[in-house]
C-alpha cells in the first residue's frame, strides 16, 4: 500500500516537474524543475531497493550536473524569456505520444518472452551497496575503468573548451614573458 502511494505520488511529481521543464519559457524555472525531477526520480530508486543508485542520482545530477547547468546559465544570458520555435505543436506532441504508445504496446504485449535469466542476482543478506560493489568491481570492472577514463577525458575536454588561453603553458614561459603578460592583464583591469 505504502509502495503504491509512494509510486503514484512520485510519478505525479516527476511528470509534473519534467512537464514544467519542457514547457516553461523561463530558463530558471526549467532548471529548478529539472533538479526537482531528478530528486524525485531518486525516490523511485529507493523504492526499488537500489539505494546506491538513488544516492548516486542525487549526488551526480542534483549535485554536479545541476551545478554545471547553473554555471552555464550564468554564463549565457538566459534570464530573459526563451523564445520557442514556431511550428505545429500537434506534430511534436503527436509524434511523442505515438512513440510512447508503441513502446507501451510493446511492453503490454508480451513479445519478449519470459525467458530472461538472472545473470547477477543480488546477494542474499547483503545490502544493496555491497552487492553493487561486488558486481561492479568483478564483472563490470573493465567498463567501470573505461567509464572512469571517459569521465577524465570529458573533464579535460570541458576545461579546454571553456577555458581561456589554454594554448599557453606557464611552465614553458620564462619569467619575463609572464611578467609582461601580467602587466597586460593589469592594464586591462585598470582601464
Amino acid at each position: 500500500m505504502f509502495e503504491a502511494v509512494a509510486f503514484y505520488l512520485f510519478a505525479f511529481l516527476t511528470i509534473a516537474m519534467f512537464f514544467i521543464t519542457v514547457t516553461t519559457s523561463q530558463a530558471l524555472y526549467a532548471l529548478s524543475a529539472l533538479a526537482a525531477g531528478m530528486i524525485f526520480i531518486s525516490a523511485f530508486f529507493f523504492i526499488l531497493g537500489a539505494d546506491f543508485l538513488g544516492a548516486v542520482q542525487i549526488i551526480v545530477y542534483t549535485g554536479a550536473v545541476m551545478a554545471l547547468y547553473a554555471f552555464g546559465m550564468m554564463f549565457f544570458d538566459t534570464t530573459r524569456e526563451v523564445k520557442e520555435k514556431k511550428g505545429n505543436k500537434f506534430i511534436i506532441v503527436g509524434l511523442a505520444t505515438l512513440c510512447a504508445v508503441i513502446i507501451v504496446a510493446i511492453f503490454a504485449a508480451p513479445i519478449v518472452s519470459d525467458n530472461m535469466l538472472s545473470l547477477y542476482p543480488a546477494l542474499e543478506g547483503a545490502g544493496n551497496t555491497q552487492s553493487v560493489g561486488l558486481v561492479l568491481f568483478t564483472k563490470y570492472l573493465i567498463p567501470f575503468e573505461v567509464a572512469a577514463i571517459m569521465l577524465l577525458v570529458a573533464m579535460v575536454a570541458g576545461i579546454v573548451l571553456a577555458g581561456k588561453k589554454m594554448d599557453l603553458s606557464l611552465t614553458l614561459l620564462n619569467a619575463e614573458e609572464i611578467e609582461k603578460m601580467d602587466e597586460e592583464i593589469n592594464k586591462k583591469v585598470l582601464s
Binding site: L95, A96, I103, A105, I106, A109, I111
Partner: protein, 638 residues
C-alpha cells in the same frame, strides 16, 4: 603432333592480335609481312598434320581446357584433327596464306592496311576453331567468329554506305540461320546428352526418326545461312562490296563452305535421314541452276564470280545430300583453289581498271595483263570442269554420283548447270581479256599487278591445274570416316559416253561464249532487244528476290517497328521515365528535410524511431503468430 595443332590454331590469333596493335597507326609494311609469316607457319603445321594423317597416324585429339562444366553439361575446349578437319585446315591455311601475301600488294595504298590484317587473321583463327573443334559448341563459336569477321571485312570500307549495308545484311541473314543452327545444337544436346562429336553421333543411332529429322533440318538451316543457299542467298552477292582478297578468302574458299563442312561433319546424322539428304541435294541442285542463271546476264565481274560460288556450293550440297560426302569435300577443296584464284585475278583486273567492275567496259586486257589472263583462263577452265583441270575430277564425280544414285532430275539439272557455268565463266573471260579495248573510252590506263602478287597466286594456279591427281589419295584418306562409296557407273561404255558428252557439252558452251563475246565492241546501254526481254530482266534483277525481300519483309517490318516504337515510347520509355521521375520528385520533395536545421533533424530522428518501433511491433507480432499467418496464407492458396 599436339604442338603443331596448337601452332596451326593459335598462330592466326597471334597474328591478329599483333596486327591489332597497329590499327590506329599509319600503314606499316612489316605488319603484313609478319601476319603472312604467322599464317604461313599455321600452313606448315597443317601440312605436317596432313602428312601425319596420310601416313595412317592416329587422329590427333586434344583437350586444351575445360570450358563449361555444369551439371550434366560438360564442354571442353577440345580440338580434333582427323581426315575431314585436316583437309579443311589445309584449304583454309593455304588459301589464307596466299591471300595474306596477295593483300600486301592489293591493300598497298589503303589507309586501313594494318586493320585489314587484324581482321583477316582473326577470320583465319575463327575458321580454324570452326573446323578443328571436337564439339558443336566450339564449332558454333567459330561459326559466329567467322560471321563477325565477315561482317568486319565486308564493311571494311565503312565510309561507303553500300558496304556497311551489305555487311549488316550478311550479318543479319546469318543470324536468322544461326537461330536454326542453335536449335539444332540444342536438339542434339537434348537428345544425346552431349555435344562432343564422338559421343553425340553414335548416340543418334538410337533415336527415333522424327527427332533426327528435326535435328537434321535445323542444323541444315544453319548451313544454309552460312553457305548462302536459297532463300538466304542474297547476302553473298552483296558481300562483294568487301575488298577482293576478302571475297576470295571468305566468300569463295572458306567461310561459305562452312555449311558444307557442317553437313559433312554430321554425315552420321544425315546418313540416318536420307529423306532430308534428298531435300538437301534437291535444294543444292536448284541453287546451282538458279545461281548460274543469274550469273549469265550480270554485269558486275565480282558478282558473276559470287554467283558461280553460289552455284558450286549448290553442287557441294547436292553431293553431300546424296551421301557422297567425300565427293563434296573434294569439290570443296578443289573449288577453293580455283575460285580463290579467279577472285584474286579479278582483284588484279579491278586494280588495273581503277575499281571498274563492269566487264563490258574492259576488253582486250590480255595484252597488258598477260599473267592474270592466263591464271583466270585456267581457273575458268577448272571451274568449267575441263579435263585435266581440278574441276573435272571433282565436278564430274558429283555428276557420276547423281547418276549412280539414279537421281536423274538432279543429274540433268547439274549437267545443264555445268554448261551454264562454262558459258558465264568464259563470257567473263572473253569480255575482260579479249576483243576491243573498250576501256580506252573511259580513259583508263591498266597495268599488271605487282609481281609478288602473281607469284603468290601461282600455288593456286598450280593446284587448280593438278588437284585432280589427289583424288585417289584423298579418297583413301577420308574413306575411313566418310564412307567408302566409290561412284562407278557399271558399264564402261556409259561412263565414257557420259564423260565425253559432258566434256563436249561444256566445250561447246565455252566456244559459244567466246564466239559471242570475244569480239564484243560496244558497251551495252540497255536498248538492245535482248536486254529488254522478260527473261533478261528477270535474271538481271535476281528474280526480283531482293526486291521482294525489300517489299514484303523489310518494309512491313519497318512499319511494324515504327508502330512498336510508338508503343515503346508510350509504354516502355514512359515507365522507365516514370520510375526516374518518381525518384526525382521524391528527392526534390525530401530535399527540404536536409535543411541544415538541427531541430528539424531531431524531429526526423523521432519519426525514424517511431517507424523502427512500429516495425518491431509488426515483426514481433508476425513472429509470434507465424503459425496462424501461415495457415491463413495456405488457406488463401498462396
Amino acid at each position: 603432333m599436339e604442338k603443331y595443332l596448337y601452332i596451326a590454331l593459335f598462330a592466326p590469333l597471334v597474328s591478329s592480335m599483333f596486327s591489332a596493335l597497329f590499327t590506329n597507326t599509319p600503314k606499316k609494311q612489316f605488319v603484313g609481312i609478319i601476319a603472312s609469316l604467322l599464317i604461313f607457319s599455321a600452313f606448315v603445321s597443317s601440312s605436317i598434320l596432313l602428312t601425319h594423317i596420310l601416313d595412317g597416324g592416329d587422329i590427333v585429339h586434344v583437350e586444351m581446357m575445360t570450358w563449361m562444366a555444369t551439371g550434366n553439361l560438360y564442354i571442353p575446349f577440345g580440338f580434333v584433327v582427323d581426315q575431314i578437319s585436316v583437309t579443311m585446315m589445309m584449304v583454309v591455311t593455304l588459301v589464307s596464306t596466299i591471300v595474306h601475301i596477295y593483300s600486301i600488294g592489293y591493300m598497298d595504298h589503303d589507309k586501313g592496311f594494318n586493320r585489314f590484317f587484324a581482321w583477316l587473321s582473326a577470320f583465319v583463327f575463327s575458321m580454324m576453331i570452326l573446323v578443328m573443334s571436337d564439339n558443336f559448341a566450339g564449332l558454333f563459336i567459330g561459326w559466329e567468329g567467322v560471321g563477325l569477321c565477315s561482317w568486319g571485312l565486308i564493311g571494311f570500307w565503312f565510309h561507303k554506305e553500300v558496304a556497311t549495308w551489305a555487311a549488316n545484311e550478311a550479318f543479319i541473314m546469318n543470324r536468322i540461320a544461326d537461330l536454326g543452327m542453335l536449335i539444332g545444337i540444342f536438339l542434339v544436346y537434348w537428345n544425346t546428352g552431349s555435344l562432343q562429336y564422338d559421343i553425340a553421333f553414335p548416340a543418334m543411332a538410337h533415336l527415333d526418326s522424327a527427332t533426327l529429322t528435326w535435328m537434321g533440318i535445323f542444323l541444315f538451316i544453319g548451313a544454309m545461312g552460312k553457305s548462302a543457299q536459297f532463300p538466304l542467298h542474297t547476302w553473298l552477292a552483296d558481300a562483294m562490296e568487301g575488298p577482293t582478297p576478302v571475297s576470295a578468302l571468305i566468300h569463295a574458299a572458306t567461310m561459305v563452305t562452312a555449311g558444307v563442312y557442317l553437313v559433312i561433319r554430321s554425315n552420321e546424322l544425315y546418313d540416318l535421314i536420307p529423306h532430308v539428304g534428298l531435300f538437301i541435294a534437291s535444294l543444292g541442285a536448284f541453287v546451282a541452276l538458279f545461281a548460274a542463271s543469274m550469273a549469265l546476264v550480270n554485269r558486275d565481274m565480282k558478282r558473276i564470280i559470287a554467283y558461280s560460288t553460289l552455284s558450286q556450293l549448290g553442287y557441294m550440297f547436292a553431293a553431300a545430300g546424296l551421301g557422297a560426302y567425300w565427293v563434296a569435300l573434294f569439290h570443296l577443296m578443289a573449288h577453293a583453289f580455283f575460285k580463290a584464284l579467279l577472285f584474286l585475278g579479278a582483284g588484279n583486273v579491278m586494280h588495273a581498271m581503277h575499281d571498274e567492275l563492269d566487264p563490258f567496259k574492259m576488253g582486250g586486257l590480255k595484252k597488258v595483263m598477260k599473267g592474270t589472263w592466263i591464271m583466270m583462263t585456267i581457273a575458268s577452265l577448272a571451274l568449267a570442269g575441263i579435263f585435266p583441270f581440278a574441276g573435272f575430277f571433282s565436278k564430274d564425280t558429283i555428276l557420276e554420283a547423281a547418276f549412280a544414285e539414279h537421281h536423274m532430275v538432279i543429274y540433268g539439272v547439274l549437267l545443264f548447270t555445268a554448261g551454264l557455268t562454262a558459258f558465264y565463266s568464259f563470257r567473263l573471260v572473253a569480255l575482260i581479256f579479249h576483243g576491243e579495248e573498250r576501256y580506252k573510252i573511259f580513259g583508263i590506263h591498266p597495268h599488271e599487278a605487282y609481281k609478288f602478287m602473281l607469284i603468290a597466286m601461282s600455288p593456286l594456279l598450280f593446284l587448280a591445274m593438278i588437284a585432280g591427281i589427289f583424288q585417289t589419295p584423298f579418297f583413301e584418306m577420308v574413306e575411313e570416316i566418310l564412307g567408302a562409296t566409290e561412284y562407278h557407273i557399271h558399264s564402261h561404255a556409259t561412263l565414257l559416253i557420259m564423260l565425253v558428252g559432258t566434256q563436249m557439252f561444256v566445250g561447246l558452251a565455252i566456244l559459244y561464249a567466246y564466239k559471242k563475246y570475244a569480239s564484243w565492241s560496244s558497251v551495252p546501254d540497255g536498248s538492245s532487244v535482248i536486254e529488254n526481254s522478260f527473261i533478261y530482266k528477270l535474271l538481271y534483277n535476281q528474280y526480283y528476290i531482293p526486291y521482294g525481300y525489300e517489299e514484303y519483309i523489310v518494309k512491313p517490318y519497318n512499319e511494324l517497328s515504327a508502330a512498336l516504337w510508338e508503343v515503346d515510347k508510350k509504354v516502355v520509355d514512359a515507365s522507365v521515365d516514370g520510375i526516374a521521375s518518381i525518384f526525382y520528385s521524391a528527392g526534390e520533395n525530401t530535399r527540404d528535410m536536409q535543411s541544415g536545421n538541427l531541430s528539424t533533424m531531431l524531429k526526423w530522428m523521432v519519426v525514424g524511431t517511431v517507424v523502427l518501433l512500429s516495425l518491431a511491433v509488426v515483426f514481433g507480432l508476425a513472429a509470434r503468430y507465424s503459425g496462424e499467418i501461415m495457415s491463413i496464407l495456405s488457406g488463401l492458396g498462396v
